[in-house]
Assembly symmetry: C2
Homo-oligomer: 486 residues x 2
């Protein structure tokens, strides 16, 4: 009867597609990842997870859907509308996860976990308007690292920033830096500038535009649209533009000097924020992190974050790639936005378990953006391989199928990644072309002579250099050549 | 208004849960995977993917949901009822993927791909009655390896069997074997036994029980429930029990001898099946595969497979584990069913693209079962680690936080996996207990003396042996010890 119901529904929809045949496509806002995309993704994730593991992190996974009640009310009005719901087929009402943070909080509360350093890399779902050309999909990966637990001041934050620094250096995406601020610094500046508390959130989102928009425009918006007066904006401007105004000062100099500004020096929240960041900056220095910049204009997630906040940007990551050129042609900025962001959020677990006090701090990598950056940069170099085959076993004459199979068997059993053609009598040229297309570095060529002499010809596909190698030492010869080539 | 609609729905359902508070749980038939489960999963997948990559495979990914039309009519009446549908929120009608094979066929047809050797490891969704104690969930992983393309006889099949043999050996789950049969052999035997074609499928499912049920019972079922007569079952019995009756014969002897049986020797389908398996058996011998057994009673998926079929079983994989004991106590068999299965299916891509002729052969690992086996076996050994931390940096005295941070920084920058306590003044005992609990193999202990002399105490957590190591050669000393320990 389900099918019948579906057919009725289809009829009601006007049956736009001829029956028996339909357009082969993936759902709106989703895509397949072919071997080339997957190879990029695997290599990025390898760098990221290696760093997480270096810092002792564990990993967890949660179901792709949650009870609808778990997600309800967690993403504000806007976010709530974008949640994918499952059909009520009898039983529980379910929705697809919208991020990894709420499932993480649910996991901690449900299992009464008070201490964990975990990462979670998985897909999330948002019924957003997709913009495929800019990489905005309805199904996409998130990659979160979080430290939950009661710890001493700024130690988990410093480790998060160390990981951001390590991962972004390791990915080789060009220069990057990490803007750093603190919720209490934002609140202090707003209060001292005379902005009423009920406007903090909306002013926050104006200030957050300062990385792309000149001050004059942002000020106009705050006056005309958000009802501030110029006294307020002038004061606020002197605070949030403090780094811009003092470009040569170090982080700790900036923090000391901004704390001396009129009004701020008497605001307790502000002073607490500054003293916490001073500790964090000192720890960053110990960890040799040079990418972090105190930026009083960084303003994000006021209803979420409770302490330090940070956001990493890599403005030149797409420089020289085809993506940059395409965006330039469209008249859009070729920069890339945030590639990692996070901060301290001490209230989340309490949403599920009011008595539990599980402070959290974390960072979420913009992993889809990082995939896109690496894909664009790798396309520029065209060195991508989609399989890891080290050697292809070819024959120059007919009737050598079983000989090729025997050699492959020995190589596989020795741990060498090897392939051969699934044809009884393939042409040598076809076999060599396959190696070139697939960028397989080495090829073994056998013929009657080689079999009699118990040797093979081992050929470097790129340089076409050949040498005879005895069968008995073949695996080692391949390993040696591969270690020099890759 | 979505929320309002939901609240109405909730009210209609009788509002069983007190408002504002609900039971924290995952959806029915799903579970979280904590660090311990994830560690097992990662190690199993590492073995599996290493083998796939050794054979030159690429990987792809597809969306977790598909257009409902893509899945409709692909899983029979039973399967169709178990598909999760997404709610119609405007736009396309979507359903969660039920397996990885249909999305693979859709991917090939949509992209007009005629040649690929790919693996796909991802979660699939079935609204089945979950049996958590036996590891049956509604969200679970599948792990498929397939070779699509026109190739010479039995070469892709042989490589699939080599991979099964490699993976199951590599996982160390005890003895296993791979039953092998051919669709044409089954059809030939049924025809020669005088079974009408419209009963092939139902007789197939009777024959498939022979691995667990004695012949007499199966024969009774075929006579009483499926309307065969004893002449037919006697003939069929002589065929499908041929291995049972001739336990000492090799695969190729069995194939030769069964082909001499009365009636079979004249059946063209049967003869074709036998001659194909003879080629496959010869290739298995070349590949050194000892696990494969020709088994005329293996009967699966008649409406799906078109050629060779195989199924791997590991009857003693749970021997000696807590799972075995629990199941024995319940009076259930402690064996594990199939851990891998597959075969040739040449018709699937044609379901989406009638003109395309893309023959396929593949194998699907029972990866959830393999996870469960490894989890049970590892619990018995209790050697599991959930993080990869190699060394913990501890202090024996107060006020050494920054010293611990500096050492960690150097170790991280040198690629060593290191942790320290996020406390300014942790107790030494607490730090050492953490290492023991987490099975971290090495611990560095520093105090005033060590700092002055620019050394550290490097301690083996298990043996408690200690030695002084100069800071300048610390990373190398750790690497050397780790290489001996792990």
């Amino acid at each position: 009867e389900r099918v019948a119901a579906m057919l009725q529904k289809k009829a009601a929809l006007g049956d736009e597609q001829p029956s028996g045949k339909f357009v082969l496509k993936t759902p709106k806002g989703t895509r397949d990842y072919g071997p080339a995309s997957m190879a990029v993704r695997e290599s990025v994730l390898k760098t990221v997870t290696a760093s997480f593991k270096k810092h002792g992190a564990e990993t967890i996974d949660t179901p792709v859907f949650e009870l609808r009640e778990v997600l309800m009310g967690k993403y504000g009005e806007e976010g709530g509308k974008l949640v994918y719901d499952l059909q009520d087929q009898g039983g529980e009402l379910l929705s697809m996860r919208y991020d990894l943070t709420v499932p993480f909080a649910r996991y901690l509360a449900m299992n009464k976990i008070t201490n964990i350093k975990r990462y979670h890399i998985a897909k999330v779902y948002r019924r957003d308007q997709p913009v495929m050309t800019r990489g905005r999909y309805r199904e996409f990966y998130q990659c979160d690292f979080d430290i939950a637990g009661q710890y001493d001041l700024m130690l988990p934050e410093a480790e998060c920033l160390k990981i951001v620094d390590e991962v972004l250096s390791g990915l080789e995406i060009g220069d990057f830096y990490v803007n750093l601020n603190h919720r209490l610094i934002l609140e202090g500046m707003f209060a001292v500038a005379g902005i009423p508390a009920d406007k903090f959130k909306t002013i926050c989102s104006s200030v957050d535009k300062l990385d792309k928009t000149p001050w004059a425009e942002v000020e106009e918006e705050m006056i005309k649209e958000k009802g501030l007066n110029s006294e307020q904006t002038t004061k606020l401007g002197a605070f949030v533009r403090f780094r811009e105004i003092n470009p040569t000062l170090s982080n700790s100099e900036l923090l000391s000097k901004i704390a001396e500004l009129e009004g701020l020096s008497n605001n307790d929240k502000f002073k607490k924020g500054v003293s916490e960041l001073q500790v964090l900056i000192e720890y960053c220095d110990i960890y040799g992190i040079k990418s972090v910049k105190f930026e009083p204009a960084l303003a994000r997630g006021l209803d979420y974050y409770t302490g330090a906040i940070y956001e990493a940007v890599a403005p030149k990551a797409l420089e020289g790639t085809a993506v940059e050129k395409a965006e330039d042609a469209e008249g859009q900025p070729a920069g890339v936005g945030s590639v990692a962001a996070g901060g301290r959020y001490d209230g989340l677990v309490g949403m599920f378990s009011p008595k539990a006090n599980v402070p959290c701090v974390g960072v979420s990598f913009g992993i889809e953006r990082l995939f896109a950056i690496k894909e664009a940069r790798q396309a520029a170099q065209s060195v991508l391989r989609t399989s890891e085959t080290e050697v292809f076993v070819a024959s120059a004459q007919k009737n050598l199928l079983k000989e090729r199979m025997k050699i492959c068997k020995e190589l596989w059993d020795d741990g060498i990644k090897a392939e051969f053609a699934y044809k009884a009598n393939p042409k040598l040229l076809t076999q060599l072309q396959y190696c070139e297309e697939r960028k397989i570095p080495l090829v073994i060529i056998i013929g009657e002579r080689e079999i009699q002499e118990k040797i093979v010809k081992l050929r470097n596909v790129a340089s076409r250099e050949e040498e005879d190698v005895p069968l008995s030492s073949l695996a080692n010869a391949i390993r040696e050549k591969i270690s020099k080539l890759l």
